[in-house]
Symmetry: C2
Subunit: 293 residues, 2 copies
């Protein structure tokens, strides 16, 4: 199995499901629905949904039961990108090779589209079938904690406050574990929780997710220096311009690359208990570290 | 029972619960937690939580079981105020007699504090005890639908798009039923759902909530013209300045006052099936129409 082809194929399934869930463009208020669909359906690797689906499959869950939760994770990710790109935040013009949401729909609509996507994520969670209400509620809690002030939003705040300041490795760790890591971890855990994982399975998958979450962000930081704008679809070098806290800034480029490899190794080791059944998740760990976009 | 004293007394219970739930100011990231607490604990009538608690009591629910949901409703209301006040939206400087969130903490933090409060509302919903997981999930669905693109956010978008345009009474109705009405309706319904209301009870309470929601907004529009800035705690006349769609602008001031009275009458009639047990909700309907702030 070629992992890039696999991701491509899976992302089509997820895109179809997202398209089905999002409000149609011809219903009121049209501008809002257009704005929501513009960002969500602009592409992207759909890593979070894929991680949720694969963690679920590893535990014995059914893809169709997990798909609403997979979509909810992608909606949260997309709302955070729309708000991060706003002029008051990172002020970015380009995302996935297209103008950012506020460049097309204006700031007010971009703020509201983000709000609506975040809210809709929780509505979709209530559409999960064939799973007990107790398990769905646990997954809702996991999603909310990972996305809010103790998770993603907290990391984004720390990231903004760190701009232009010297920060230590502890604070960098906090930022990355929260800003990117929290939702990636929740993706894996939600897939596992909804499929009835036991404590040992959940613990192993949590370690896996924490390591790939950290690795993902280290590689993101490296790509901001070495990446190809054509492939990444957003501005390169913007972290440096903004004096952002990054792994290469604190540890240097070579050491950062070594650290990324180590996270990948630790992520894969954590899945030993599953044996060969974990093949896709193992390949996803390699892919996350070796990707060039 | 004096209804103003009752609201005052209940709001203290709710404020204490909100204070307990919100992250402390001395934990990381401090700026975010300060910003969240600043807006939520700035006061306000706490109408939505009170409606949820009273609807629950009418059906036989226990206050302590409903309190987390009551707080969630208030958090959603507060996030929407923070985002509505932003420069890209209504650009307001004053809220509840204090500088708006972005005036104190800056735009980026105000956007993120709103995001965190919205997310936290759903986390709190998962803390509801002594109610079946199925009922809690129904309440989560109700909250998400009322707050998102098919509810409050949809109404806010339509309101912004209507600025400076001639709109008809249908569109005004859409804006008000969604922007303010949806969350007020959800407040009453969530209290009822979590207390196990039957179809007849839920239908009656839904009609009550729809009518007071509409009445609430008509009175808000009237207060923007006739209100006392000292009492309201926000700028007066700002609807006119912004060429906003309002009831007085379409129907005139006197006709708007008559319409508000009629909504109150219909709201109270809907509760006939409950007899005297509905006393507090009946007085709340009067209060909403007769308030001067």
């Amino acid at each position: 199995m070629n992992i890039k082809e696999f991701i491509n194929c899976k992302s089509k399934v997820i895109n179809k499901e997202l398209d089905k869930h999002l409000p149609a463009e011809d219903i009121h208020p049209i501008q809002l629905n257009k704005s929501m669909r513009y960002s969500v359906l602009a592409g992207g690797k759909r890593l979070r949904p894929i991680l949720a689906l694969e963690a679920a499959k590893l535990i014995g869950g059914q893809e169709e039961d997990i798909l609403p939760a997979a979509c909810a994770l992608e909606l949260i990710h997309n709302y955070s990108l729309i708000h991060d790109d706003l002029p008051a935040m990172d002020d970015d013009d380009l995302r996935r090779g297209k103008p950012t949401n506020h460049k097309v729909f204006g700031e007010a609509m971009a703020i509201l589209a983000g709000d609506a996507l975040l809210t809709y994520a929780f509505e979709i969670m209530t559409k999960i079938d064939n799973v007990s209400a107790e398990q769905v509620l646990l997954a809702v809690k996991e999603l909310a904690k990972a996305s809010g002030s103790k998770g993603m939003v907290g990391g984004q705040v720390a990231d903004i406050l760190a701009e232009g300041h010297q920060i230590d490795s502890n604070e960098l760790d906090y930022i990355h574990r929260h800003k990117t890591g929290a939702l990636l971890k929740a993706s894996v855990r939600i897939g596992a929780i909804l499929s009835g994982a036991n404590d040992e399975q959940l613990k192993a998958l949590t370690t896996y997710a924490e390591e790939i979450g950290l690795g993902f962000q280290i590689v993101d930081d490296i790509l901001d220096i070495e990446g190809d704008i054509e492939k990444i679809g957003k501005d390169v070098g913007s972290d440096l311009d903004r004096d952002k806290a990054t792994f290469p800034a604190i540890y240097g480029l070579e050491e950062s690359k070594k650290m990324a490899s180590k996270t990948c190794k630790r992520a894969k080791e954590a899945l030993n208990i599953f044996g060969e059944k974990a093949e896709v998740l193992l390949k996803l760990a390699d892919y996350i570290i070796e990707r060039d976009y």
